[in-house]
């Protein structure tokens, strides 16, 4: 009996160790897969030695003199941001023409068509869970697309050199909010960028949102898209940006147990199944408190029972007083 028990313990240990090893190896494999190869980094340095900084140098073949020029701001790629982005494992020439290896770059390359997200991610089983096709459909229906036609593309919000997936992370909600709102503010708080697409004057966001109580608190805790995009049950981040008139204005859309935040900002966490016992919309409670959306079932029940007892007590006491008075 003792022997059998020892053998069982031994078996469990062996199995546990094996499972641990497999887990560890998988973790290493995933980590290695997500890291840019040194070879790629070395290759990219051919581009980044100029495009990775604010100035670049070249030797003028006519005069033989070394010339220093300022790099055009839009073509500067920050190495740290790029190697932290979703596309960090890419070679520059995975997306750009290999003809860029000559300098000066051929002029025709300026007309090079840029890839949109769907060009690489569309119809790919590996990215099926991100539902790029649906995101594309939603985007096409949004004001960003309908008002600006092809001038407005994925790049406007998701710079492939820096974009980092955010909503499907375990990061703090406030960090996700700050990152995502910075994407909107990139144009909506910058008149130069805003007027690249329109001749209209960029409205002052603080003034147009003056009606919003605790404005600063809202800006810090919810994304612009919570009110400005139509939620879609089948995709994680809404891309159908609505016209101004259709933006959410009713407080109860968020401030109720049926809060839309559960279908937008907290959707990923809801899907991950995190919940707090007894709390309505418990995931919101991790980092904040939304009046009307966060109630505790048990506290509500206790207060209802206590309230019921008081009313019953008053009724009994009052009735007895009336009865005794009559006598």
């Amino acid at each position: 009996m003792i022997f059998q028990s020892t053998r069982m313990t031994w078996n469990i240990r062996v199995r546990f160790s094996l499972a641990f090893c497999i887990l560890l190896m998988s973790a290493f494999a995933i980590t290695a897969q997500n890291k840019p190869k040194e070879e790629t980094k070395k290759f990219n340095e051919n581009c980044l030695k100029c495009h990775g900084q604010s100035k670049y140098k070249y030797v003028n073949p006519e005069s033989g003199a070394e010339v220093t020029k300022r790099m055009y701001l839009e073509t500067i790629i920050n190495r740290n941001e790029f190697y932290d982005s979703n596309h960090k494992t890419f070679k520059c020439t995975d997306c750009h023409s290999e003809d860029y290896d000559t300098f000066p770059h051929p002029g025709r390359l300026r007309m090079e068509a840029k890839y949109a997200c769907i060009d690489c991610h569309g119809g790919d089983e590996a990215y099926a869970k991100f539902k790029f096709e649906q995101i594309e459909t939603e985007f096409q229906a949004s004001v960003h697309s309908t008002k600006h036609s092809d001038d407005f593309n994925c790049w406007m919000c998701h710079n492939p050199h820096t974009y980092k997936i955010n909503a499907r992370s375990e990061e703090k909600i406030k960090d996700i909010v700050a990152y995502d709102n910075a994407i909107c503010l990139n144009c909506h708080a910058d008149i130069t960028k805003y007027q690249m697409l329109t001749d209209k004057v960029n409205p002052n966001i603080l003034k147009t949102h003056a009606w919003l109580p605790n404005q600063a608190l809202h800006f810090k805790n919810v994304r612009c898209i919570e009110c400005h995009a139509r939620t879609n049950d089948s995709i994680l981040v809404a891309h159908n940006i609505q016209p101004k008139a259709k933006a959410v204005h009713r407080c109860v859309e968020c401030h109720s147990t049926n809060s839309i935040l559960m279908a937008s900002l907290y959707k990923y966490k809801v899907q991950e199944g995190r919940s707090k016992a007894g709390f309505y919309n418990g995931v919101i409670m991790n980092e904040g408190y939304v009046i009307g959306a966060n109630r505790n079932y048990y506290l509500g029940l206790i207060s209802l029972i206590m309230f019921g007892c008081v009313i019953t007590g008053i009724l009994i006491h009052g009735s007895l007083r009336i009865i005794k008075r009559k006598k």
């Binding site: 605790n214 009713r250 980092e287 904040g288 206590m306």
Partner: protein
């Protein structure tokens, strides 16, 4: 013996009347926000928020009036609890309310110029006015200016802690209001105590 004693000066009656209206508005708007239902709102959320904020601010000012009036006029003496024999006095008053009142016994602590409140009233009024209301006011202001709230309290969200305290204490204040209104019906007549808060004269049994 029956008679009238002038117990409630004008400022007390004005303060009390305003306080009563504000507390009722705060309870109604507070409950509406807490149990908000987009389809059938009791009070529309944005209106409830404004109602709650404005009432809360006026209540805070009114509370300062109460504190000044209480400590600068003889009214303060009614809130001084004599600790000696307190438990016995509370039990005696409680026993009167649960049994004596039905046997038409005389109140054990009749209202007089020197003693406006019976021990139970005194105890609960002190609790409400010097514990519950200050907490609900402080946490309420913290909700108006959430950036001033400590972000972390005991490892948890400070804002969440503050909000729960506000809601829970708010519940006890509404609890107090119901009991208070009911006990006001226990006077010389059913409405005599309510009349007192208009005329200023307490009518004895």
């Amino acid at each position: 013996m029956s008679g009238k004693i002038y117990l409630y000066p004008v400022w007390v009656r004005l303060w009390h009347g305003l306080n009563a209206i504000l507390i009722i508005l705060l309870i109604l708007s507070g409950v509406s926000m807490q149990y908000t239902d987009p389809a059938n709102p009791f009070i529309r959320f944005d209106i409830a928020v404004k109602m709650h904020n404005i009432s809360g601010i006026i209540l805070s000012v009114n509370y300062i009036v109460f504190i000044l009036g209480t400590f600068m006029t003889p009214n303060g003496k009614y809130y001084k609890i004599a600790m000696k024999g307190l438990t016995q006095r509370l039990i005696k008053q409680f026993t009167y309310y649960t049994f004596g009142i039905f046997k038409h016994e005389k109140p054990p602590f009749p209202i007089s110029k020197d003693s406006k409140f019976n021990p139970l009233q005194q105890f609960t009024y002190v609790g409400a006015m010097f514990v519950l209301v200050p907490i609900v006011i402080i946490t309420g202001w913290a909700l108006l200016y959430p950036e001033l709230v400590l972000t972390k309290i005991m490892g948890g969200s400070g804002l969440k802690f503050n909000d729960f305290i506000h809601v829970i204490i708010g519940f006890f204040v509404s609890f107090f209001m119901f009991v208070h209104i009911y006990f006001c019906t226990i006077g010389a007549t059913f409405i005599s105590n309510f009349r007192s808060m208009v005329t200023g004269f307490h009518e004895s049994h």
